[in-house]
Symmetry: C3
Subunit: 156 residues, 3 copies
Amino acid sequence: MDGAWYKEWEQGRRYIIKIKPGEKLKERLIVFAQQAGVKNAVVISAVGSVRDAFFRGIKAGAKRPITEPRMRQHHLTGPLELLGLEGNLISDDSGEIDCHLHVILGKSSGEVAGGHLFDAEVFASCEILLTEMVVQGVERHISKSAGTPTIFISEE
Amino acid sequence: MDGAWYKEWEQGRRYIIKIKPGEKLKERLIVFAQQAGVKNAVVISAVGSVRDAFFRGIKAGAKRPITEPRMRQHHLTGPLELLGLEGNLISDDSGEIDCHLHVILGKSSGEVAGGHLFDAEVFASCEILLTEMVVQGVERHISKSAGTPTIFISEE
Amino acid sequence: MDGAWYKEWEQGRRYIIKIKPGEKLKERLIVFAQQAGVKNAVVISAVGSVRDAFFRGIKAGAKRPITEPRMRQHHLTGPLELLGLEGNLISDDSGEIDCHLHVILGKSSGEVAGGHLFDAEVFASCEILLTEMVVQGVERHISKSAGTPTIFISEE
């Protein structure tokens, strides 16, 4: 059973979130979701600046599944402009919120860096706009073939 | 007649789409739109990873219209983190879906590449969130002055 | 009084905006907001191309607040693919629209540049999708500790 490959969802509540200097971006997003009782959400927009950004890329030529030795970890002290934050919060099968975020960062030089975000500390400000997704039968858990947590959409 | 420069639209259905490893990202988005009967849509968010990404940039110093010799084509084998996918699906005057997508890709080095997406193959996973746009009088067709397919908004 | 750190908002009108070649991207977004009577909005998506992009990064190792000497200004003549435009329009305490935008740009080489956008001229086309935010008690004004205009969310 492969499940469906797309599914309709309803829009729930919408939030503007301000993460303060010195706070961790991803950690605070999860705290927000717990406090607001949001199970599933998608980031619409994020602007601000961060420092001590930890993220990873996939090694060139890597095969699936994505395992630790096939990733390359990065740490930029910055500060950096937060140019983009793409991703979603989807609960896993135990109801825990799994936050899958990719980050795009602007350096002093005008060059851009980015990857799969572990976490980063907000530098001067961080404004996130987010929409709750109301949907049944969508979960994220580890995919054996991909090696990474992946959404699964159950058939109706 | 230049038409209007902005127009209100209504939000239609919202979808979560999972494109599987080995499938082509843009090709599948068009299949999705055909299967779901979506004429116009905007990508809200996309995260995942891809390989064999084909995209283009515009040559520095190029003039309008954007013609073939004024573009530069790129092919990255990757795999790469999919950091961003911006764009929309707008039907042309024959009702065919025209998919205008720009891609932002994270390399192993943490550097970022990107441009106008031709297509890319999903590597480990790809999660796309999309909103249907319900709107009349918006079409995309070739602009003689721009050289590229461009939206046209008709006056009320 | 620190105020709240997140707040719910209601979705207002949605717009598709076409900015024409030769026009300034940020300038036109503000004209749009004035003409349509939009006080607060978030950019969902933007694709197109620009030239003469002026933006800034934060100098590596800079401390807060972000002051002029702690920023580094950039000017790219291009043309460049517009790969991303993240940000929002939030009114300040006098009702003036403050447009906070970060830009992600694709070079001819396939490399990507970006930062906090001052402004850029549209090259061949520019398609922006935007949602009005209906919310009370959210304003943007200069934060003394951050050095930059920042949103403030008042307690209920």
